[in-house]
Symmetry: C2
Subunit: 355 residues, 2 copies
Amino acid sequence: MSVNVFSAGYLREVGTRIFVGCGAPPDEAALVAEELVDASLMGLDSHGVIRYIEYVMRVREGKTRPGAPVRVVKETPTTAIVDCGFNFGAVSASRMVEIACEKAASQSIACVVSRNSTHIGRLGGYAQKVAERGLFCIATCNSSKHGHWVVPFGGKEGRLATNPMAFAAPTSGLPVVLDMSTSAISEGKIRLLMAQGKEIPSGYCQDAEGNPCTDPEVWYGPPKGTILPFGHELGYKGYGLSLLVEIMGGIMAGEASTEDGSYVNGFALIAVDPEAFCGREKFVELMDNLCSYHRSCPPAPGFTEVVLPGTYDFRMREKRLKEGIPVTDVTWKQIKECAATVGVTVPEPEESLCL
Amino acid sequence: MSVNVFSAGYLREVGTRIFVGCGAPPDEAALVAEELVDASLMGLDSHGVIRYIEYVMRVREGKTRPGAPVRVVKETPTTAIVDCGFNFGAVSASRMVEIACEKAASQSIACVVSRNSTHIGRLGGYAQKVAERGLFCIATCNSSKHGHWVVPFGGKEGRLATNPMAFAAPTSGLPVVLDMSTSAISEGKIRLLMAQGKEIPSGYCQDAEGNPCTDPEVWYGPPKGTILPFGHELGYKGYGLSLLVEIMGGIMAGEASTEDGSYVNGFALIAVDPEAFCGREKFVELMDNLCSYHRSCPPAPGFTEVVLPGTYDFRMREKRLKEGIPVTDVTWKQIKECAATVGVTVPEPEESLCL
């Protein structure tokens, strides 16, 4: 497997052209490309430029509607339900961030939830945007029933998706950003393990009968297996948290968990202005203090340091901004092919751009 | 070890007399007793009537101040910082629930945080009260630095408390109530395991050097060991969640994590009115649908059913309302002794009351 290395700027340019080719207005196309390249920069390749391919396919299937209006369909000074109109999730989720930040800045706290959203990408990225404006954010993302591969604690049939939750808080430097699924593993990672001929770690999956399963081939079946909530024997905690995500992302917006809705992700975010509490300045000072206190913790045997959530992602971003983003030959070929299906020729990378 | 069985009503009466003896106004005394008896009813004995003893001791040490005013010291229409004045935590936390529900009912969402709170007891109980008014609630509770026995993921020194988080959502029946610590175990449970001559489960604790530790005697040292965030090798998730709790419960209120503040718990809650989203009626309908969907999940081998968070607690409540609350002889003797220190004679249980 050969790997190309491209600059973030080049991959953004490629993505923007592709999404314009899909019918998106240039600013929206650029936003979608930027979100996906950001995920690649941070090392979250499963949510990165590899999604160009799937996003184009969904447009061609009529499931994603480039340029569709993103509209507030119900609101109060502190809340909104946003109909995303099946535009690209990055477009609607970014708009929801704007709305939540505006409302929180004037009302101290706000909650915004989505309807008819497609795939939003990296959840933590939206929480991070809120924190970059000095606000504190909690965000969740569920999936419609078709993504229900995760069992309730003690169950053997899927009832939930991997249901990630995130929070972000500002500091004087980079924000603290937690972005975690409430399940033990994602289907994407099981697929990767299978491709690598590796086993699934113990305690992450069950076969279709609810027995422990570590063999990816067995897991895929048919019949297909299920994924456990994270936490092993304390998995009732991961399960409980996944319900929190389901309620915030789905039920608040009026989506029944039992219906295979046409939406992909149910995105919800709560933004809080620290100014209404200890004050923004004090909040940042106390966050800096918290970060120092934690970083000063001596590592346990087998670890080299204690890091705050998001640290590795920001470090990878630094590295890939300098060294470029690796894209396998297979993925790169598929990206060029999907571009061609919407009439876009991928420009040759210039030496200066592609590193 | 002999066990007495008392009715909830009798134990409430005993508690009310004791807290009145401590100087609390009768209504506040009754509230504190009710919260603790509720925890006992639900089987959470570590947060139940056994705390009568500690609560009296803290009053005698001047750390809890019965009858102290609970005051809003900063507020907006959607937010409040509440100075609990070191009154009993149940009194101030219940007041905070009132404030959050009032604000959420008029503004759709509200966030209220504490300062100078003593021990609030069962976190889930407050989230439950919010849900019983038709609102959705997220609640967190941190502890001042003296309770920092929990290490950051990969660390060997304590930087966090067991930092529970809770959520509650209304249904047409009992609410769904998740109440979980973000650590693998509590110190109280380690103490219990030691008393029972049992080992600590693997992956829950470290000795003072950061090595795995399953022996309670070794854990207590000196030097004393530490507790891990929940999640085992995915413990960075439990760690991240504990930071969320620290930020909401401590930093928002202006408390530095590095200071050994005089407060015991930093309590924070967010209340959301579903009326502003899909509507209260629809929300309950969809919650009922969610619960049925999950309860219908066939159990995995080794399990007999799938239950929603809070189910076991509500079942225990039913059972103990009928059969009474067990209190060991040792605890009962200590409760009578602590009552005597505040000039209260514990009434003999009537046959009809003590079951």
